[in-house]
Symmetry: C2
Subunit: 463 residues, 2 copies
C-alpha cells in the first residue's frame, strides 16, 4: 500500500496525492471539473461535424477526419501519434432515392434510403406488389408467395424494453439479413422499417449483407421511415394488391486505403500493458454522425487530453484509438487486432464509447466475474456524478475482437432513450449534442481509465 | 402479512397478487409496460402544447388548459373531478421587447425579454450606461456609482456542478432580486444574464420581485440571452462608457380568477389519508412550456389513468392536483393548502413532477430519516428501470407549503443536463419532448405512488 501511495505521489503533477482512497476521489473530481470547464471535445466535435461532415469509409470526409484528428492529437503532446493503414469497403449512395406507394391511381411519395452495401435498382427503378412480414421466420413460411414481390419487413422496435439497445437488437435482423433471405425466395426488393421508436419521416440507413448469396441474386434493399412504414402497412390492409416503386443508384467501389488514428501516453511502470480508449471515426453518409460516433471519438481524445494536461504519468500505456470502418465492415477494429497480435502486444483493458453523446449512466462490461466485481467496486467513486449502472453487456464493436491473455472491456453507457431518434439518419447532427452531456461522458471515461491504470486488472490466480 | 396479501388480492384487478414482494415487482413492471405502450401523456401534452399553447396565469391559454385537463380527467372515470377557485396575478408582456448595445456609432441588437412581474420602460425606452456585476454583493459595494445606470448582472450558472439545478439555485438571486437591489441604489434598469448554461440566442424569462420596494422606485428588469450577455460584457471591457437601450411594455393587470384542477381516486381502506401527485398547469408565456411544466401535468394525469385503468383500488385517497400559478405567485399551491387546512385533511404523501420531461433518474425527497430510509428501501424495485438516485432535496414548489401531522414529499428527478436549455424560453416546445422519456417518468411516478399507497409512511413512534 505504501508503495502505491508513494508512486502516486511521484507520478501525479497537479493531481492530489495523499491517501489512496480520498486521493482517487479528488482526482476524479478534478477530471469532472476539467471536463466541464475546459474540455475541447465539444469544439472538436463541432469541427468534425460542421466543417468535415459525414465520414463514410472511403469518403473525402473520412480522409479529412483522419488528418484532422491526427493533427489534434499531435497538438496534445502525446508520446506517440501515428496512423495505421487499413483497406476499407467503399460504398456510395449515388443519387437521392425515390419511392412511391402506387395504390390504384393514388401515388404517394415515401421517404426511403438505400441500406449500406445494397445494390442499385435498375435505372428505371423497381415496381412490384408488396408482401408485409413481421419477421424473417414469417417470411420463410411464405415460400413461393414471395416470388416477384417486394418484401416489406415491418416489425417495430419493441417499446417495452427500458434499454433502447435491447429493442434495436431485437429488430435488427430485418435490416441486416432481410434482403438476403427475401432474395433466396425470389423477391425483387426489400423494404425495411427504420430502426427508430419514434414515428417520423427520417429513413435510417445501416449495414446489410448478402453474405454468401451469389452476386446475381442480390436484390436492392432500402429503409423506409417509420411514418412511411405505418402508411404502407395501413394501405396494404385495405388493398393487398397495391404496388411499391423505388429507385436507388448506390454501388460498391473497389476497397479504399484508410487509417486508424492512434495516440499514446507511454506507461511509466509497465508500458507493455496497454489500455485502449476509443470510438470510431467513420459515420454513415446521411448526416455528420455527431452521436454515431463523433461523440465517442472526441470523448476518447478528451480522456488523453485531460490526463496529459494534468501531466499524469500512467503506469500502463494508455492508447487512444480512433477506429475506421465500424459501420460497414469493421475493418479498422480487425486491423488493429491483427497488428497487435503481430507485435505480441498485451492489452489489459479497452473502453469504447459508441452509444451516443447523451448523459452517461454507467458502463456495459465484458469481464470475468473477478474483474466485473472489481469494476463494480468503483461504484462509490462514481455515485457523486450520477453514474450508477455497472452491468454485464456488450462493450463495443471495434474492440469486440481484441484479444489478450486477460482483457477486460467496457462500453460507456449513455442514456439510450433518444439515441435511435438520430441513429444512422439525416438528423444525427451537431445540434443534437448537448455540450455538458458530452463532457460528462468524457469525464466518466477518464475516471474509469484512471482507476484501471492505478489498480490494474485481476489476473487469473497464480497461473 | 397474510392480511396484506389478501387485501391486495381483493383490491387489484388485472394486477398480480400472490406474494407481496414479487407481486410489487410484477405490478411495477406492468406500470412501465402500460406507460410505454398505451400511455396518453404524450398525446395530452401534444394538445396542451400545440393546440392550447402558453398558459401564463390569467391568460386565455391557462383558462383553456383548466377546461381541457378537467375534461380529460372526467373521461378517466375517477371518483371525483373538480375545480378549486384561486385568484392569481395577471401579468402581461405586451409588445415584443427591443434592445441595443450602443457602442459609439455601432448599434447592435441583442435578444432580451422582460422578467415576469417587471414594469415597463417609458414608451420611448431607456438608454443609459451599463455597470456590470457578478453578484448582488458586488452591486452593494458600488454604492453611488450605480445611480442612473443600467445594472448588468452577468454571473453565469456554475458549470462545475453535476446537478444542473444546483447551478440554477446558485445564480437565481440575480434574476429574482437583482432589479430590486439595483433600484435601491438608484439604477434605472436591470439586465440579467439568462439562466442557461448554453451559449445561445434565447432570453429566458422568470419571476422577479420588487418585494417591499415603494412602487415609485420600481425599475424595469429584463433577461438577456447568454450570447447577448457575452457580447455586452466583451464590448464593455473595451468601452466602459457604451450605452444600452431597451424598451418593454409589460404590465400587471388586476388579479384574475383561475383554478386548480383536482381529480381523485377515493381510498378504500383509509380514505382520510391523502396522497397527492401533481404538477403545475401554468407556464411562462414565451412558449408552450412543454417541459415546464406540461410534462409534470400529463405525467400526474397518467399516474391516475394507469391505476384506474388497472381498476386499482387504493387504500388511501390518491389525488391528482394540477396547480395554477407556480411560475409567478404560487397562489395555486397556497390555496390548495388553505382549503386542505380548512377541511382538516390529512396528507401523508405528495409527489411533484416539475423538473422537465427528461429521462427519470430518481427522486428528490423531503422526509424525516425514517421515511427517507423507507423510500431508499424501494431502490431494488426501481433498479430494472435505471432509477438509481434517491437523495434528500427539494420536492417541488407547489407542494412546498403543504402541511399535515406527518407528511413525506418527493419530486421526480429527471436528467437535468438539458433542462436549462429550454427553461422559461421560447424553445420550451413540444418537439423538445421525447415520448419514451416522458412515459418513463410517468411509470416511475406511478410506481412510487403505488408503493407508498401499499405500505404507508412511517408515523412518529407511539405518539
Amino acid at each position: 500500500m505504501k508503495k502505491t501511495i508513494l508512486l502516486t505521489a511521484l507520478v501525479l503533477n497537479g493531481l492530489t496525492a495523499s491517501f489512496a482512497q480520498s486521493n482517487d476521489e479528488k482526482n476524479i473530481k478534478l477530471f469532472y471539473k476539467k471536463a466541464l470547464t475546459e474540455a475541447k471535445c465539444y469544439s472538436w466535435l463541432e469541427y468534425l461535424s460542421n466543417d468535415i461532415g459525414s465520414r463514410l469509409s472511403g469518403s473525402k470526409g473520412a480522409a479529412e477526419a483522419v488528418e484532422y484528428t491526427k493533427r489534434q492529437l499531435e497538438g496534445l503532446g502525446l508520446d506517440k501519434v501515428y496512423l495505421q493503414e487499413v483497406m476499407v469497403p467503399h460504398w456510395v449512395r449515388g443519387e437521392k432515392e425515390t419511392a412511391f406507394i402506387l395504390d390504384g391511381k393514388v401515388k404517394t411519395a415515401v421517404p426511403i434510403c438505400a441500406l449500406g452495401g445494397s445494390v442499385a435498382t435498375p435505372k428505371t427503378g423497381i415496381t412490384a406488389e408488396v408482401i408485409e412480414v413481421q419477421s424473417i421466420d414469417e417470411l420463410k413460411g411464405l415460400g413461393d408467395k414471395v416470388k416477384g414481390k417486394i418484401v416489406f419487413f415491418n416489425r417495430p422496435m419493441n417499446p417495452e424494453n427500458i434499454a433502447a439497445f435491447e429493442s434495436y437488437s431485437g429488430a435488427g435482423d430485418q435490416r441486416r439479413s432481410g434482403a438476403k433471405e427475401a432474395a433466396k425466395l425470389g423477391a425483387v426488393g426489400a423494404i425495411v422499417r427504420s430502426l427508430n421508436f419514434r414515428l417520423d419521416d427520417f429513413p435510417h440507413t445501416g449495414a446489410q449483407s448478402y453474405d454468401d448469396l451469389p452476386k446475381n441474386q442480390y436484390i436492392p434493399a432500402a429503409a423506409i421511415s417509420t411514418n412511411g412504414a405505418e402508411l404502407l402497412s395501413k394501405l396494404l390492409k385495405a388493398n393487398p394488391a397495391l404496388k411499391f416503386y423505388f429507385k436507388q443508384s448506390c454501388e460498391t467501389l473497389p476497397d479504399a486505403l484508410s487509417y486508424n488514428v492512434i495516440g499514446e501516453l507511454t506507461g511509466t511502470v509497465t508500458p507493455e500493458n496497454i489500455i485502449v480508449v476509443g470510438g470510431h471515426l467513420d459515420s454513415w453518409d446521411l448526416a455528420d454522425g455527431s452521436h454515431d460516433d463523433g461523440a465517442g471519438v472526441v470523448q476518447s481524445m478528451e480522456v488523453v487530453r485531460i490526463l496529459k494536461n494534468l501531466n499524469y504519468k500512467p503506469k500502463n500505456t494508455i492508447r487512444v484509438v480512433l477506429f475506421m470502418n465500424e459501420e460497414n465492415g469493421g475493418k479498422g477494429g480487425a486491423k488493429y487486432e491483427e497488428v497487435s497480435k503481430q507485435k505480441n502486444e498485451n492489452h489489459i483493458f479497452a473502453l469504447e464509447s459508441d452509444s451516443g453523446g447523451f448523459t452517461p449512466r454507467g458502463f456495459s462490461i465484458e469481464a470475468d466475474d473477478a474483474n466485473f466485481k472489481k469494476i463494480q467496486g468503483f461504484k462509490d467513486f462514481f455515485e457523486p456524478y450520477f453514474i450508477n449502472s455497472f452491468i454485464k453487456g456488450h462493450a463495443g464493436s471495434d474492440i469486440e475482437h481484441l484479444t489478450s491473455k486477460t482483457i477486460v472491456k467496457a462500453g460507456l453507457m449513455p442514456d439510450s432513450q433518444r439515441y435511435f431518434d438520430y441513429h444512422h439518419a439525416a438528423n444525427d447532427k451537431f445540434d443534437a449534442i448537448n455540450k455538458r452531456e458530452l463532457e460528462l461522458g468524457a469525464a466518466t471515461m477518464t475516471s474509469l481509465i484512471y482507476l484501471i491504470d492505478q489498480t490494474g486488472i485481476v489476473l487469473p490466480s497464480a497461473n
